[in-house]
Every structure is written in structure tokens, then in C-alpha cells.
Amino acid sequence: MPENGRELTFAQAVREALAEEMRRDPRVFIIGEDVAEAGTPFKVLSGLVEEFGKERVVDTPISEAGFTGLGVGAAMTGMRPVVDIMFGDFITLTMDQMVNQAAKVHYMSGGAWKVPMVMRTTLGATRRSAAQHSQSLHAWFSHVPGLKVALPSTPYDAKGLLKTAIRDENPVVFFEDKMMYKLKGPVPEEDYTIPFGVADVKREGEDITLVATSSMVQVALGAAAMLEESGISAEVIDPRTTWPLDEKTLVESARKTSRVIVLDEGYGRYGVTAEIASVIAEGAFYDLDAPVRRMGAMHVPIPFSPPLEDTTVPTEQSVFDAARKLCGKS
């Protein structure tokens, strides 16, 4: 982590990564709904159209499948599109383009064509947006060979991972937690990238490992602070990309602490937590003192009513309780 003191919000870090890459490479362009003057509903892109113009910050009709497909073709023919899907829930509309086209073009053509495209979209509940604007569907893309999936959890990671995504020769889906856009953190002014498939140890610990992605990293760090006060030393590991997945770091931490909770805001069933728990069970079975515990969104459509919605995702308290129980201190 840099020590130069400059802090940016998560949204500013995303914007800075885009601006730097657009200055570096004239082939990079942004395309999506309300990305230009509006700068997206979350104002993540504010100011970019003023610098780069409407030819490179392209407002579209409300046609996710259409402009995602256009992005695939543009990527194949010399451009570097960053396709903006306003809410992660809307990836459903792009599925054929992402799964049948973007993910498979390189392989099906025997390596002849490639698709260097980024799709930026969001995840995360608790914004009172109900069931069609609150889902965390990153597991779907993580399931498909040919796609890479990045989930930054800090402003620092957002800038470095997004620059890596834009420079990657493959289709990358980049999920941003919309509740995190105002989170502040240190971000260096200089150019830097973060390699995919390298997990980050966000906090070192000895007694239990909390593997957490995206929105759940801050929850895990909060729980770890509470656990420390009750005498439990928790390690927090952020895979940062669900594919490629840094299995080695996850397994090594599990072998060290012998207890693991996997946290992810997607659904648990057939989800990211299932995959990571399985990786750890296979790699660290003889070193585990307890079954790997998984915590994710409840298996319900996200409800609107605040007291209902808040029960659907893990919290610092629920992680704290689960960790104490796993450590035999319930």
C-alpha cells in the first residue's frame, strides 16, 4: 500500500484509471447508457466526455445487447472498448454477447481473433433498489471459460485492476460495488497495474481466515477488528479476481489458520463461495480444524423494505458471530 498520502474515492480511482488509459491508448473508448454528460447515475465518469469528447465517451440507446455486441466486434477489429452496464442486474440482457460471442471467439477461431474488451458493471445490495437493481451476479461470468472477472475492494485496487483489465487481450468483466463508490483510500498518482490472479492479504492473522470479495472485504475487515478485541486473530484475504483465481494464496492461508469463512455478496448456492470453499477443502483438507463456512446473500430475490433487505447480506456482526463459533467461542 502506498504511503504518499493522496486519497481518492473508489469512484475517482475508477475514473482516473479510465482517463489515464484513454490518454495512453487512443483505441480505448467508453460506451454505454448515460456515460457522457451524465457521467452515469453514480457520477463515476463525470468529466471524461469533456476531456475525450463524444467520439470516445459514447452515449447509447437503452440497448445493452446491441452495444455490448458492438463492443465485441469493435474489440475484434482494433479498438479497446470499455462497455458500461449501468447495473449488474442488466448483464442478463448481454448474456449471448458475453457468453456465446466474447468468451468463445478466441477459442472457436483457433486463436485467430481476440476480444480485448472490458465490461464495467456493478454489484451489491442495501441501496433500497429492490430485486432488479441489487444483485451480485459475478459468479455467472466466473463460470464461463474465456472470460476474466475482477472485483476490486479498495480505491487502490480499483485503479490498478481496471488498468490491467483494459490492457488485457481478453474480455474482462469488472464488477464495482455501488455502495463503495464513496469509500476513500490511498491511490498513487503514478501509473501502476495489479496483475490478475494474485490475491491480496488485506490483514494478517493466525486463528481464522476470512476470504472476502468486493463489498465483503470491508465487512470482513470490520469483523476482524471486532474479533481482535475478543482475542481472535483473523486474516483477511481478497482474491481480487474470481478468474483467474489465486488458489495458492487461499490454500496457504487456510493451512496456516485451519479455519476459513468465505464471504461474497453473490448467492451461495453454486456461487463464488462454493467454488472457493471447494478449492480450500481440496487443498487444505488435512490442515482444517472445522468445515469451511460460507456466507453470501440469502437465497431470495433482494427485497425492498429496509429491515428485510438488511437481513439478506452478511454484516460485520454476523461474520463476527460466525467466526467466534467456528473458533469454538460461541
Binding site: 473508448f29 467520439e55 447509447t60 440507446p61 440497448s63 445487447a65 446491441g66 452495444f67 455490448t68 455486441g69 458492438l70 463492443g71 465485441v72 466486434g73 469493435a74 474489440a75 475484434m76 477489429t77 482494433g78 479498438m79 472498448p81 449471448d96 454477447q97 456465446n100 460471442q101 471467439v105 478466441h106 477459442y107 472457436m108 477461431s109 483457433g110 486463436g111 485467430a112 481473433w113 481476440k114 480485448p116 471459460p145 474465456g146 476474466k148 487481450e169 481478453n170
Partner: protein, 332 residues
């Protein structure tokens, strides 16, 4: 046929040599597909294939209007487009047989032939699956100012897919150099298009303000003339165009679709083959105009037949990819 193309000036001005080149290309597609059917019936080809025989004038007429560096996207019934854009039959047969020498190193097969060297962005097994890709290629061409045009081939079945209308809207808004070529061969798989298609087909494009034409897709001269006109317009910056080619597939939906009288009659098939055959229409016209004689057509057919036999032999003898290649090229 809804409208008849005006006798295009471009078509009128080219000579016998060019028409004979197109004749040869159409014969190549016809005989290629005969070999494919033969490979299937001899159980030498894995899976199935969708034959293009009967529709040759569309691919040839359109691709002859293109530059080598122009782009095409193709369909599950794509052999004709790939050949017309310049693909070599030996590597195509190799791909159909799953061999390493194939265009996709055996990983794509009949429905996914792609070839950057000829601007072929790939055949696509999702109906309307490539409409975004073609439109994106046109977007790149405009942004990079390289003067290229993209042609998006699709069957009339793709008219049922919403993504087509999304990208046509984008193409017209941004004046992208893309030609949407709708091959209306009358059947969405096993269902006549009149059961699936409301309203006028051309209206689907004119609603967006896109210039739309229809043409006798069995008449390569008409297709070539109109395509040349539309491609020139797109290259000039006029924006997209939509071209309906009324045509007919001689075979079933795929090579295994043999008993098909429940959806179309043998009389109908015979009528198209005898009265609307693209090869016969062109050879008849060339003979009538004294631009060629029967011996020319016989010679071309014999030469192409020999080429196809050689290409098939190459593919049959070619090795399969080694098993360790299965994990190659998942990521670039």
C-alpha cells in the same frame, strides 16, 4: 421477389472475365457442398452441416462487391460466405473434419469458420449472433478511418431476434458502414417464414431510416450490381444499408434433414432448381450475350471438381490436433 433491381451500371460495365470468375466461385460453392454432403453420408464428417447450395449468387454477388480487407460475418449456413470471401477449400474441409490444418485448428467446425486474412470475422451458430460483431467492425472502421465496410449475412430467421433491431438503430444513428444482408431462403429451419414474420421485411429497416432494397438472390448480376451500389454508399459515409436477397436452399435445414415434405414439397424444390438456379441463370445469360460458350462452363466445372477432390483428400489425410491442444487458446 418484391422489387427488381435496376440494371446496375457497375454490373453492366464489367467484362466476361469477371462474370466467369463469379461463375467459378458459384460452382466452387456448389461442388464444395456436394463434397460436404458426401462426407456426411460416408460418415467421414463429425456432426452436421448446413448446406448453402442454391444460395450461391448471394454470397458471390455480395463478396465480389467487397475489398479483400472488408469484413464479413456469417451464419451457421456459412460455407458459401467463407469461400466467396476467399477462404481455401482445403483448410475449410480440414476444419469440417476437425483437423489441425483447419481454419480454427479444428476447434470451430462447420459453423465457426473464421479467417482474419480474408476479413472473415466468423460464422456464428447463434441466429443473429453476429449482428453486433458486424456493427462493431463497422464502428471500428469509422473510428479508425480505414475505409472498410462490414457485411452482416443472416437468414430471414434472424428477423425474429431483437438484437438485430438494436444494432440497426445504432448503425443508423452513427452512420456506420455496415450492410445487413438478409438471405430470405423462405424457411426458418422447418417453418415457412410467413408463419413467423409479420409485416414487410423491408419495413424492419426503413423504420430506422435505413436504405433498404430487395433483389432476386438467384441472379448474381443483380445481387452484384446492387451490392456494389450499397457498398460504395457505405464506404462514402452514407451509413448502413439493408439488402434482402430472395433465395432458396436446395437441401434441408442440415444434411440430415432428408424427409422434409411435411414443410415443403418436392415440386417446390424442383421448381426452384429448374427455373431459378443461379449457375444456370448466369451461364444462360453469358451464352446469350455471346460472352462465353458451353465449353467454358464445362471446363470450369471440371477444374473445380478436381480442385475439390484434391482439397477433400488433403483434409482426410490431415492429422487431428493433439489432445493437449484442448486447453490452448481459451485465453489470448
Amino acid at each position: 421477389m418484391t422489387t427488381v433491381a435496376q440494371q446496375p451500371q457497375a454490373a453492366a460495365s464489367i467484362g466476361a472475365e469477371a462474370w466467369l470468375r463469379m461463375y467459378r466461385q458459384m460452382v466452387s460453392i456448389r461442388l464444395f457442398e456436394e463434397q460436404v454432403n458426401d462426407l456426411y453420408t460416408r460418415a467421414l464428417m463429425p456432426g452436421l452441416a448446413h448446406l448453402y447450395a442454391g444460395e450461391e449468387a448471394v454470397a458471390v454477388g455480395v463478396c465480389q462487391a467487397l475489398r479483400p480487407d472488408d469484413y464479413i460475418t456469417s451464419t451457421h449456413r456459412g460455407h458459401g460466405h467463407c469461400l466467396a470471401k476467399g477462404a481455401a477449400p482445403d483448410r475449410m474441409f480440414a476444419e469440417l473434419l476437425g483437423k489441425e490444418a483447419g481454419y480454427c485448428r479444428g476447434k470451430g467446425g462447420s459453423m465457426h469458420i473464421a479467417d482474419p486474412a480474408t476479413g472473415n470475422l466468423g460464422a456464428n451458430a447463434i441466429v443473429a449472433g453476429s449482428v453486433g460483431i458486424a456493427t462493431g467492425a463497422a464502428f471500428s472502421a469509422k473510428r479508425l478511418s480505414n475505409g472498410r465496410v462490414a457485411v452482416c449475412f443472416f437468414g430471414e430467421g434472424a428477423l425474429g431476434q431483437g438484437s438485430l433491431y438494436e444494432v440497426m438503430n445504432l448503425a443508423q444513428l452513427w452512420k456506420l458502414p455496415v450492410i445487413y444482408v438478409c438471405e430470405n431462403n423462405l424457411y426458418n429451419e422447418y417453418t415457412h417464414y410467413s408463419e413467423t414474420t409479420a409485416g414487410e421485411i423491408l419495413g424492419r429497416a426503413t423504420a430506422f431510416g435505413i436504405h433498404a432494397e430487395s433483389v432476386d438472390g438467384q441472379d448474381v448480376r443483380a445481387v452484384y450490381g446492387l451490392a456494389t451500389h450499397l457498398v460504395e454508399g457505405a464506404r462514402r459515409g452514407d451509413g448502413p444499408a439493408f439488402l434482402v436477397c430472395n433465395t432458396y436452399r436446395y437441401s434441408g435445414h442440415h444434411v440430415g434433414d432428408i424427409n422434409r415434405e411435411y414443410y415443403r414439397s418436392k415440386e417446390e424444390e424442383l421448381r426452384w432448381k429448374s427455373q431459378h438456379d443461379p449457375l444456370k441463370l448466369l451461364s444462360g445469360w453469358l451464352t446469350e450475350q455471346a460472352l462465353a460458350e458451353p465449353a467454358d462452363f464445362e471446363r470450369i466445372q471440371a477444374e473445380v471438381k478436381k480442385d475439390m477432390e484434391t482439397a477433400v483428400k488433403f483434409a482426410i489425410a490431415a492429422p487431428y490436433p493433439s489432445p493437449e491442444e484442448v486447453e490452448q487458446d481459451v485465453y489470448a
